[in-house]
Symmetry: C2
Subunit: 330 residues, 2 copies
DNA sequence: TTGTAGGCGTTATCAG
DNA sequence: CTGATAACGCCTACAA
């Protein structure tokens, strides 16, 4: 089979018996076209299998219709990013945008590259650090940008992130309501992390914690958590368990498998996926959802707003985590 | 701060005191440039912060320098794709290529879209089905393409995939060598799946299985596997356990946590990540690696080969799984 | 409601 | 070794 050249709007115009510009106007909708003409054009497009050339369109209009997505270079076991990538990509398509992946290790230079070459009209930055060099590059370029994750300083970019303080409050309230006298937190909870998720979470926890609830932070290693709890002084009520780490949640569960069903414990899940539906000992535990798909959708919508309104103010949107419903999203 | 227009090669030329075409030649290396001129051009580029305009370049050269990556729309818990996305992206950059994400739900129409618009020069298809409509679209377009996963029929596209038959053989050999008289397989092992990974794996298993090794397939649900084993007739030797499902491996482990340390069992891991390094009951079990990063790198290299050599033959590369070393890649 | 024409920033073919 | 110049395919004033 011969690889024939792709048809151009010129070809479409010829076949439809109109001028090339009319084809262009029909496609962009930048001016009214008579019903009859439009039909002939559509027909010609179908017949030729015409697709507007993206390079030419980008060159002329100075908009590529592509948004860059800077993904974290993964740590072991980080399943985290993929749901974002897919949801962002799908939502972007609804606005006729495509998504180009750039890895975080390209850093600020990567930002300058994709904006400098005109490859991308806008950027979504994932897993932003407290003080992220990429934000400076974005601001300098005046590029529409949404960051997933909240930097410490007020950024030039819009922010879409989970409300981690609220997450802390929700965990505390549930634990207390279920008669727990101790809340054992595990997972990556270093205050001095490059990101501020955990410190925001812990702030929420401590602000909401009533006098009757003792809050304890376990050391990070899954293998050690169970032993750590056994060394604690005995408590009168139940113990609630929560871990701020989706990637490792199952490992922790694995390390504490006997505690999952012990009535003296309240295990609170942290995942968008209902592990119970997959059949495990984790069945029927209460679960808070990080709403990765919702965050993704909001991020794209915010980016579209920034793209459409020339000088829109940047915004910060903190999404509340939700308790999983019985008919959860699975 | 004013958002000044991006500098063009014209600006660079002026500043360097050469013609615009010379700048282009210096950049593409399409013809020799004197050392002196080249230096002045480089300097001008630095000073202006010049990046060649991607739209113009694509329009003129008919090559976008972008490869499309069609990612699976995820099932619950599928952490699988992300390591591929990152590794492919990183390897692509080494060849000055960028990666555009397209979701599998766009199907063959998505293929036609990205190739028709000239957005992508080539494609990598992930999780290809036994008989995948996207391959027809690719063949029709004569597009350089690598599929991760092996279709049943001989494809037009190159194939890079794991050698699942060999995987089956390796599991069997290890089980037998360690004195097992039974091999219990679990995870998604439906013969009639849309993909053929499991049937290739099972073929390898059955071809290699010696008379002294009984092969048993457990039903899919993690919660049921342990109970299933207990219902089996007792066996004289040890039982080897292997599950062809990275996403669910930990769930199965969770469901069979007591068997992990039982000397009557040989649990064989299936993951690129050393769970032992994270501190769990899974410590110190033998482990086979799906080599996601290696597969990704090979896929990109093969695509580059197809892009460089005008009419290169497509190839099939089946990568052998490997036993994790003590100093594993983690 | 439609047509004409100029130019977006490159690459690559001519000359020199 | 280097300069001028003609496309590449589309968008969008300007004209009719």
């Amino acid at each position: 089979m011969v690889k024939s050249k792709a048809p151009t709007s010129q070809d479409v115009a010829r076949l439809a018996g109109v001028s090339q510009s009319t084809v262009s106007y029909a496609l962009t909708g930048a001016r009214p076209i008579s019903e009859e003409t439009r039909r002939r054009i559509e027909a010609a497009i179908q017949e030729l299998g015409y697709h507007p050339n993206s390079g030419a369109r980008t060159l002329r209009s100075r908009r590529s219709g592509v948004i860059g997505l800077m993904v974290p270079t993964p740590r072991p076991l980080s399943s985290g990013p993929m749901p974002f990538v897919v949801a962002i990509s799908q939502e972007a398509r609804r606005f006729d945008l495509d998504v180009l992946v750039v890895t975080a290790d390209e850093g600020a230079a990567g930002v300058r590259r994709v904006v400098g070459t005109g490859l991308c009209d806008a950027l979504i930055l994932m897993e932003i650090d407290r003080d992220d060099e990429r934000l400076a590059a974005v601001a300098e370029a005046g590029l529409p940008c949404v960051s997933l994750g909240k930097p410490d300083a007020v950024p030039g970019a819009s922010v879409v992130d989970l409300d981690f303080e609220l997450l802390g409050r929700l965990v505390v309230e549930r634990a207390f309501a279920e008669g727990c006298s101790r809340l054992l937190l595990f997972g990556r909870l270093e205050e001095k992390s490059r990101r501020n998720d955990s410190s925001r979470f812990l702030r929420g926890v401590h602000e909401a914690a009533p006098a009757g609830l003792e809050v304890v932070l376990a050391p990070g290693d899954p293998a050690q958590v169970a032993a750590f709890e056994d060394d604690l002084s005995p408590t009168s009520g139940r113990t609630a368990l929560f871990g701020l780490s989706q990637e490792l949640e199952m490992l922790f569960a694995l390390a504490m498998t006997d505690r999952l069903t012990d009535p003296g414990h309240l295990f609170i899940g942290w995942s968008d996926v209902d592990l119970a539906a997959l059949g495990t000992a984790l069945a029927a535990i209460p679960r808070l959802t990080p709403r990765q798909a919702d965050v993704s959708v909001l991020a794209v919508r915010e980016l579209v707003r920034l793209l459409r309104e020339p000088d829109a103010e940047s915004r910060t949107t903190l999404l509340p985590p939700q308790w999983a419903e019985a008919d959860g999203e699975g």
